[in-house]
Amino acid sequence: MTATATATEAASAPPRHPLPESSPKRRHRRAPAALWVLLVPFLVMFAAFFIAPIVFAIIDSLFAQKSSGLGLGAPTREFVWLENYGTALANPSFLASLGRLVAFSAIEVPLMVVTALGLALLLGAAAARFPRAFRVTYFMPYGVPGVIASLLWGFLYIPATSPVLQLLGALGIDANPLSSDAVLFAIANIALWGFAGYNMLILIAALDSIPSELYEAAKLDGAGEWRMIWSIKLPLIRPSIVLITLFTIIGTLQLFVEPLVLRPLTTAISSDYTPNLAAYNQAFAQGNPNLAAAMAVVVALLAFGFSALFLRIVNRKGNRAW
């Protein structure tokens, strides 16, 4: 806050020297050497570690290692058009993993957005006590790596070590979060635990930027807290809700770590449970990097497709109003 305050003060302070008339316009005219010094390091790194791998993956996905004749001699690299994509999409277990991923998104995205929104609104309620302490508590899991979160919840999902399952057992409820019916929800819970607080923080910041005059005016008009939430808070933080939904969609499609860590604990998770696990296995266990590249590109296309579809839906004119 102090630094921002200084910046604001500095902004309002008059410049020490009066500016010549023409100077403000001239700023954008020249592209000095300094611009390149500022810009090039990032652009080079971005090209090397973002663009290059994507281009490499797309090219690689169009080739295959073919062994000649009787399989003697070194295999040769051949251009096979979209054959790898055909192989991937004709594979029932890869298709199943795509379906599972879509199902996981359908569970996780609404759960995440509603939880983050609920927490942000609860913390903003007039009746909330100790909002700062609660806010840190909810945000804390964001600092716990997904691997460690999965290890911890893994212990809480097996009856031998889980106090929750032991308590439920004592009440006569026999729950098994790692059964094949429940395991997708068990994974969703780990992701929710890790990221709900982070998304909540983005929403709280948006709520804080709503001018207080709006609340005062609404109060004068006799609006209650529900009415304020519905008519002021939700419409005004809509862009932030859209943002966290988008981040969550992208995040869910990357599902990899949680099933990998939970796998030894249950038979409900196969080695190609998600497309990313399948791609990882193809690349490093099955030794077919070309097929792995095709699978990775399919995931990327899915991410872009879902993001585009979502943005299209929320930006449709009829939906702008809520």
């Binding site: 009746a127 209650g224 995931v299």
Partner: protein
């Protein structure tokens, strides 16, 4: 900024008291959520004090009669020739150096996008932003094969270099430079004879401090939590970060149940490290930067 601060301080006065029942309901919900978020953390801190046998035979949310926290810590730090301390140092190295470089180059680029005009500026910017939408897993696999072809896999660089790119950081820096660094100041400094790089290095970067700290923290946690990249790149346990090291031990629990307690204690220590970092640096987590970015 001014209205935002005003809103924050004025809001309690504007909200109405919601009645006793409503108040109890709100606070009960807040407390229930706190229990949920604290449950795994409380469990692991308690479990880290138990003997391997008590881990399975005592109630998870209370201490055993014969706590051995010290013994567990000694085991943790002496197992495999002190591997755990090396993993912590590696994690600090990857996250600290990676986030530092990422912050410097992302801030410089974001400032350049905010304050200069150049050809294809918006196209380049939106391409970078598109990078935020590409799943990290899509990048990690091909990156392995790329770095393998130049012989970098297995080295510290294979994890450090990709961690130095933060497209989201460029986005935050541009947004923040627009609002926090007024054109008049840049212009005045120029008239005083300061070069462009000096203006960025000693004037603009100071005004952008909140954004810089935020970019650093986000990138630090992102690298610290990253699993796939080191998993793909590294094979020598001496270069592992904590996440990879703990899963290495976890994979040996089938063979030797002793490793379970090591994984539990190791998880507890790394959770404590990050929780201390998050809580002590709480005031620097400026999510309102991201919120400001979504306006309009």
């Amino acid at each position: 900024m001014v209205t935002r601060t005003a809103a924050r301080t004025a809001r309690p006065a504007t909200a109405r008291p919601g009645g006793l029942a409503g108040s109890i309901l709100v606070n009960a919900a807040l407390a229930a959520a706190a229990v949920y978020f604290l449950l795994p953390i409380a469990w692991v801190l308690i479990a880290a004090t138990k003997s391997p046998g008590d881990l399975y035979s005592t109630f998870g949310l209370w201490f055993s009669d014969s706590p051995q926290a010290w013994q567990n810590l000694v085991d943790l730090f002496t197992q495999d020739g002190g591997a755990f301390s090396i993993w912590i140092l590696n994690s600090v190295l990857y996250s600290g150096v990676g986030a530092l470089v990422a912050t410097v180059i992302a801030t410089a680029a974001g400032y350049a996008f905010a304050k200069y005009a150049f050809p294809a500026k918006e196209t380049v910017f939106w391409t970078i932003l598109g990078g935020v939408l590409v799943p990290a897993t899509v990048i990690a696999l091909p990156l392995y094969f790329l770095l393998n072809s130049v012989g970098l896999t297995g080295s510290y660089w294979s994890v450090l270099l990709p961690s130095m790119v933060s497209p989201f950081g460029v986005y935050l820096a541009r947004i923040h430079a627009n609002t926090a660094v007024p054109d008049e100041i840049v212009e005045a400094a120029r008239i005083d004879g300061a070069g462009d790089l000096r203006i960025f290095g000693s004037i603009a970067s100071r005004m952008m401090t909140p954004a810089i700290v935020t970019i650093f923290l986000f990138q630090f946690v992102t690298i610290w939590n990253n699993y796939l990249l080191p998993l793909v790149m590294l094979n020598d346990p001496k270069r592992f970060p904590i996440t990879l090291g703990l899963t290495l031990w976890n994979s040996q629990t089938q063979r030797d149940p002793m490793f379970t307690q090591l994984v539990v204690t190791g998880s507890a220590v790394s959770v404590i490290l990050l929780v201390v970092l998050m809580v002590s640096l709480q005031r620097f987590w400026k999510a309102d930067l991201t919120a400001g970015a979504t306006k309009g």
